[in-house]
Amino acid sequence: MTDWEIVLKEWPRLASGFGTTLLLFGISAVGAFLLGALMVGPLRSRSKIVRIALRSYVDGMRMLPFLIFVYLLFYGLPTFGVKLDAWTAGLLGLTVYHCAYVAEILRGAWDQLPVGQTESAQAHGYHGLRLIRRIVLPQLVLNTAPVLGNQLIYILKDTSFLMIITVQDLTYAASSIQSMYFVPLEPFLIAMALYWAISLLIEGFVRVVHGTAKERGLGHA
């Protein structure tokens, strides 16, 4: 059997890993976006305590390597009596880590938004979450589509770290085929191609959103 034949024979393993990666990526991307979007208002809160607390969180996450964070969640937390299974630790890790980046991207974009946008919304009776959801957030997303897309790609690639905490994702599948049959190249080439394919889909999605933005005179930021 050639190396390629071995890898093809093991396709269910790769398929299942790919499914896991897609699922992890999908859920944590949506979660990170929603949490990040929820944080963008409080990051500009009138209350100094809220602002400082969130700022520390966002900066703390951004200064921490993702791998160490996931290690702490999975291997560190049990010391304090909190035991998460690998999937939960992985999903939680991806979401909580990347939502800090999303929040920071959106906050930066809000600083660039003309203050007249929120003023005219307030003058028409908007405040709080509704103001953010209807008036501010859509503009922030349209204005930052390429940067948010980049972040999605980081989320995708960070899913591969989760094999360290025994999550059986695409990288794990490739790696286990490699170690079972001593085929060092082919499984990883396939994994690479699959990561690449998802990245291309993300890029395509970003292009659509960016086009929508340009049609409205937005997205020059």
Binding site: P114, G116, Q117, E119, S120, A121, Q122, A123, H124, G125, Y126, H127, G128, R130, R134, I135, P138, Q139, L142, E215, R216, G217, L218
Partner: protein
């Protein structure tokens, strides 16, 4: 006979920024159907006064009453919550110098957005009314265009329709033509003239002397944060009482 309750009453408003008082102790009354203009040199505090009326700026002192009801503070002097203030603001339409249309929405969406999502009007009703208002400002053909593609004059007419869609009791205009090319000023003023003629109550901060003279029942002249002169347009333009107003007016002759 008891005096009619003014639609809008401004009572001793003062506002400072960084220790500099930009509005000092200004009081005004505007009755139903009246259009008043607030004139004055740049930096005289006109815009800040207008923004204090709907509490986009919180006044340091003084009160605003809308149809007899206090704005911004409750009866026990406590500040209104964001929610209460937002609900009062729906009754005051505001038109900004820089239009501030929401660029991610089409023209019609801009007009129906707040009625549907703030007032809870059904979308169908909002669309019918929105189309009617766009027709009124002469922009029904632009209903599906994005603000990005409009001229300044068109944007400002959409902004007026957007404010009117809330069925406000009073309209506040903050230098609505100052950001426009001169040849586009007329189309916006003409919409405003029609509104005044229909009996809308309007407070207009402006540099358009002809509008103040022809359309307004009252002219308020401000300088250095204070109301220097307050009279009918006839009196103000033909026979200003103060030197400051005289000097101001010579620049426009």
């Amino acid at each position: 006979m008891p005096e009619e309750v003014p639609v809008l009453q401004v009572d001793g408003i003062s506002k400072s920024f960084d220790g500099v008082e930009v509005v000092s102790n200004v009081s005004l009354k505007i009755h139903s159907g009246e259009t008043i203009s607030i004139l004055g040199p740049s930096g005289s505090g006109k815009s800040t006064l207008l923004r204090c009326i709907n509490w986009l700026e919180k006044p340091d002192r003084g009160d605003v009453y809308l149809a007899g009801k206090r704005v911004g503070r409750k009866e026990d002097d406590q500040l209104m919550s964001d929610h209460e203030l937002a609900s009062v603001r729906t009754q005051m339409g505001m038109v900004f110098q820089s239009f501030n249309l929401w660029p991610h929405f089409t023209v019609l969406q801009n007009v129906i957005e707040a009625p549907v999502h703030v007032l809870g009007v059904s979308k169908d009703d909002a669309v019918v009314r929105g189309e009617h208002l766009l027709e009124k400002v002469g922009l029904e053909a632009k209903r599906d265009a994005y603000p990005y593609s409009l001229s300044g004059g068109q944007k400002q007419r959409v902004a007026i329709a957007r404010a009117l869609a809330m069925s406000p009791t009073v309209m506040l205009f903050d230098e609505p033509t100052s950001a426009l090319d001169p040849e586009l000023v007329g189309e916006v003023l003409s919409v405003m003239r029609d509104l005044a003629a229909e009996g809308m109550t309007m407070v207009v901060v402006t540099h358009e002397m002809s509008f103040a003279r022809d359309v307004c029942q009252e002219v308020v002249f401000m300088d250095d944060g204070q109301v220097v002169e307050q009279s009918t347009p006839d009196k103000f333009f033909s026979n200003p009482q103060t030197d400051r107003a005289k000097r101001f007016l010579t620049r426009y002759e």
